[in-house]
């Protein structure tokens, strides 16, 4: 019973936090652009609207991919510690999280592929390449963490950090932390790595054929995605949180850093993005992994 309550609490709260962050992102960007900006509740208004609209579907997979994708995101959230709460802690740790994080983009990719629109295919192709770009660094960063803490369980990593301090300021891990900061915008899909949707070039890419509740689902998925990206960073490098409030404050802090980048940067082309991701963050992550490997062996 406690578990069910925890699951509901964490998933709903993650969704709300994600939507709030989307609203905040729009507001902050507007303020940086010297605009008034939409109200913070704008994402909620949008979702209500999308649920009152009709939509077209291009087939069973078009629907199923969307549901599959959102399911994947929700389940990842259950594996991530939220303050002191982690509903599904004992079933696989970071490696499982890494794999579950695949489901969301895969679902969108299948659904977008079924929409039979080349814009969607281009978007998916870009997403795949971008993911390949940042995974190179992300995998090395996660491996350096797992090697340093000698565990694959994210709960253990958080607990060790609560006792020993943030990973970001541990000497062997600081290089990996820096690399993580560099790839973070790519993981969250914000500028300068926004070429997946790129409304001006490829008509919002995978989203091209979505309307109505599909867009609502896609936005919810995006909200979860933002929460997951930030939560992973906070849990792995900023010491998680001993309680939910503290955790949310850290989440907000990390979010604001990337939001400033998002508001002022233009968009990379995909090959520029991959070249960037394979050069500096990958180099830093590799050095970080070597440092950790040498110091722990």
């Amino acid at each position: 019973m406690v578990l069910v309550l925890q699951i509901l609490f964490v998933s709903i709260l993650a969704c709300l936090v994600g939507l709030f962050l989307i609203g905040l992102s729009r507001k902050v960007t507007a303020r940086i652009h010297w605009r008034y900006g939409p109200p913070l509740s704008q994402p909620f208004i949008d979702i209500v609207k999308w649920f009152s609209q009709t939509a077209v579907s291009h087939g069973k997979l078009f629907d199923a991919g969307m549901i599959f994708s959102l399911t994947g995101s929700v389940v990842v959230v259950l594996f991530l510690p939220f303050g002191g709460i982690c509903p599904l802690s004992g079933s696989g740790g970071l490696l499982v999280i890494l794999y579950l994080m695949l489901i969301a983009p895969l679902g969108i990719a299948l659904s977008a592929g079924e929409s039979a629109n080349p814009h969607a295919s281009i978007g998916v192709s870009r997403k795949m390449q971008l993911a390949f770009g940042y995974e190179l660094s992300l995998l090395m960063i996660l491996l350096s963490l797992m090697t340093y803490y000698r565990t694959v369980s994210i709960v253990d990593i958080v607990e060790t950090q609560i006792q020993a301090g943030w990973s970001l300021v541990q000497l062997p891990l600081v290089v990996s932390g820096l690399a993580y900061l560099l790839i973070m915008p790519a993981i969250m899909g914000i500028r300068p790595f926004e070429m997946i949707q790129a409304p001006q070039e490829i008509s919002s890419g995978p989203m091209a054929e979505y309307g109505g509740k599909f867009l609502a689902f896609a936005t919810l998925q995006h909200a979860f995605n933002i929460y997951i990206g930030l939560s992973l960073f906070v849990n792995l490098f900023m010491g998680g949180g001993s309680n939910a409030g503290y955790f949310l404050i850290k989440l907000l802090l990390a979010f604001m850093v990337f939001q400033v980048v998002h508001a002022v940067w233009p968009r990379f082309r995909i090959e520029q993005a991959v070249r960037y991701l394979w050069r500096w963050p990958a180099l830093l992550a590799f050095i970080g992994l070597i440092i950790v490997w040498v110091t722990t062996s």
Binding site: F51, I67, T71, G90, L95, S121, F132, R150
Partner: protein, 618 residues
């Protein structure tokens, strides 16, 4: 059931199938399936048994021994099941092509000689079955003629080189230990020097590595897999190359004990590290090369090479978790890769031999079952949770990370992310996007193709949710090797540093999916749109041209292409050219004219006389 009866039925059955084909086609088809069903049932009945039977002692005083143990059992069962599915699949597939009797005969022969290899208890029978397998495989690869002959040639040349290496190793082992029976060799190798063991290992690694397509020895595989008939590609990729894996496990864990193997040689330069390195390279390079492929079967072939790398990594790492991971990945790979080859085969069958990814598209509307099977196969290949590939890859990563090999783990993980790219390419190009007008009247796959595909998809799913089933058998075989088995239950594995429980993951995913589906249903009903009613900036969709598939990952592939020349293939081509040139040179001397030969002899004598006169050597 007695092993020798089993084998006799196998080979008798395959011969009978060939002969029956001369009388009745239908009876032949049914008989082939019946023989394989019998094989599957017979092997299943041997579950958990460990026994040895001496088949024949008279041949050159070498005993021919058959043995069964849990480790051989899981291989034999996989071979039989995949073989059964492939034969059912080929019912209609091969009818189009002709020479069906020969195909069935060879197919059964390959399957049964593989089972023979797995069940053999000494090197002599191992070698005999090995050669039978190699040659019948050659005949099947070049079944389609044309390009396939060159592919088969490449295969058989490399295979013969491997066999020769194995022969040398066997003879050396025989002179060292005086026996060819595995148990006997294993007993007398305890005292052997480290250098000798490494020598033996390397000889056998050439043989097994060629079959298993380890990186510099992989060149035969891509052409062979893509040119062979699809049902045989399924067998080839699913189980045949895993015979090399079987050899590796047998040699490292069965004959040379794993403790010996891990501590062999110098701390840095030893066979284990070499094998690990090659395993890592085998994951990495073929994964990248697969991104470039536009031929569906060639893409899958390169993917097979890459997946073989995981298995090698698991086996060579030498912990009980890594062996479980490697063996489980063999088992899983056999299921999902043969499934994928069947999916491509079904598409090829219906589109009259189109394998070019760029000219397909949108087939999900015409072949939904095939698509679902392909999707499940691809998910298994990537290792999406709830499919079987997930658990085996998790075991491999976990043991690499916990035992402090982050770089190997990195390569393995990166390989998976490359797998996503080419897997999506495969699924997207064949099944998603716009349906070309020429395929508007395409029929769904026939039932005889659907049945094996559905069956294999189910196994991929079931063993993904219940990894305890195969892991239980693998644990038994690890006990047989004298290793400490993993702590498993039906849903997963428990280790000291992190455990995996599919129960939680499966419940969360399935329940979450249902809840969200209901939520989705609550919204307004959506209308179905045709592919022609699509966003094209307001313009009507240009039929047949509204598809993005050519050069799908162009920005990425353009970046990595300069680093990805197939060095190994170029090397062998140069070698072959060199040998041909040398042969030409020699032919100039051996003209075939007796007069010339007489001249050579006289010249030779003259030189001898000259030397004797001048230096007085003798």
């Amino acid at each position: 059931m007695k092993l020798e009866i089993l084998l006799a039925v196998f080979f008798g059955g395959s011969l009978l199938t060939y002969l029956l084909g001369k009388i009745s086609k239908r009876a032949r088809d049914i008989l082939a399936v019946l023989v394989l069903l019998f094989a599957t049932a017979g092997i299943t009945s041997l579950y958990g048994k460990s026994s040895t039977a001496t088949l024949y002692t008279g041949f050159l005083d070498f005993p021919m021994v058959l043995s069964i143990h849990p480790f051989a059992w899981i291989f034999a069962l996989t071979i039989a099941v995949v073989g059964l599915c492939a034969v059912i699949f080929s019912w209609l597939y091969i009818r189009k092509k002709g020479r069906t009797d020969f195909f069935y005969f060879m197919m059964l022969l390959v399957i049964f000689s593989m089972i023979g290899i797995v069940l053999s208890g000494d090197f002599l029978s191992f070698y005999i079955f090995w050669e039978m397998m190699s040659w019948s495989t050659f005949l099947l690869i070049s079944y389609n003629r044309g390009k396939a002959i060159a592919a088969g040639m490449k295969y058989i040349v490399m295979s013969v080189a491997g066999s020769l290496a194995m022969l040398v190793g066997m003879i050396s082992l025989y002179t060292q230990t005086g026996t060819l029976v595995f148990e006997g060799i294993s007993g007398s190798l305890n005292s052997a020097s480290s250098g000798y063991l490494q020598f033996i290992l390397i000889l056998f690694f050439v043989a097994f590595g060629i079959k298993n397509a380890i990186w510099p020895l992989h060149v035969w595989l891509p052409p062979a897999h893509s040119e062979a008939p699809s049902p045989f590609s399924a067998v080839l990729s699913g189980v045949l190359i895993k015979i090399g894996t079987f050899g590796f496990i047998l040699l490292i864990y069965g004959i040379i004990q794993v403790q010996v193997f891990v501590n062999l040689g110098h701390a840095l330069f030893n066979v284990r590290n070499l094998l690990l390195l090659l395993g890592a390279v085998t994951i990495l390079i073929p994964t990248f090369i697969a991104l470039f492929q536009d031929d569906a079967k060639r893409l899958l072939a390169w993917s097979t090479v890459a997946q073989a790398g995981y298995i090698i990594l698991g086996i060579a790492y030498g912990t009980s978790e890594s062996l479980s991971g490697g063996t489980l990945h063999f088992f899983n790979h056999a299921l999902f890769k043969s499934l994928l080859f069947m999916v491509v085969g079904a598409v090829e069958f219906r589109t009259n031999g189109v394998r070019d990814l760029n000219s397909l598209g949108g087939l999900i509307k015409k072949m939904p079952v095939t698509f679902v099977a392909g999707l499940i196969g691809v998910c298994g290949l990537i290792g999406v949770p709830l499919t079987n590939g997930f658990v085996s890859k998790w075991l491999i990563y976990h043991t690499l990370i916990v035992n402090h090999s982050p770089f190997l783990a990195f390569v393995a993980l990166l390989g998976t992310w490359g797998t996503i790219l080419y897997s999506y390419k495969l699924i997207h190009h064949i099944f998603l996007g716009q349906l070309p007008r020429k395929y508007e009247k395409l029929q769904a796959a026939p039932v005889s193709m659907k049945v094996p595909m559905i069956f294999l998809s189910l196994t991929v799913f079931v063993f993904g949710v219940l990894p305890g089933l195969p892991l239980h058998v693998i644990n038994l075989s690890e006990l047989g090797f004298g290793m400490e088995p993993l702590a498993i239950n039906m849903w997963g594995v428990v280790t000291g540093s992190g455990s995996i429980q599919m129960l939680n993951i499966a419940t969360a995913l399935i329940l979450g999916g249902i809840v969200l589906w209901l939520f989705f249903r609550m919204g307004p009903k959506n209308t179905r749109a045709d592919q022609m009613d699509n966003y094209a900036a307001g313009a009507p969709v240009p039929a047949d041209r509204y598809q993005y598939s050519v050069k799908f990952y162009d920005p990425l592939t353009r970046m990595i292409a300069p680093y990805l020349k197939d060095i190994a293939d170029n090397f062998y081509s140069a070698l072959a050219r060199g040998i041909r040139n040398a042969g030409n040179g020699i032919r100039r001397i051996y003209t075939g004219d007796v007069g010339n030969y007489a001249l050579y002899i006289i010249l030779f004598l003259a030189i001898l006389i000259f030397i004797q006169l001048y230096w007085k050597v003798w």
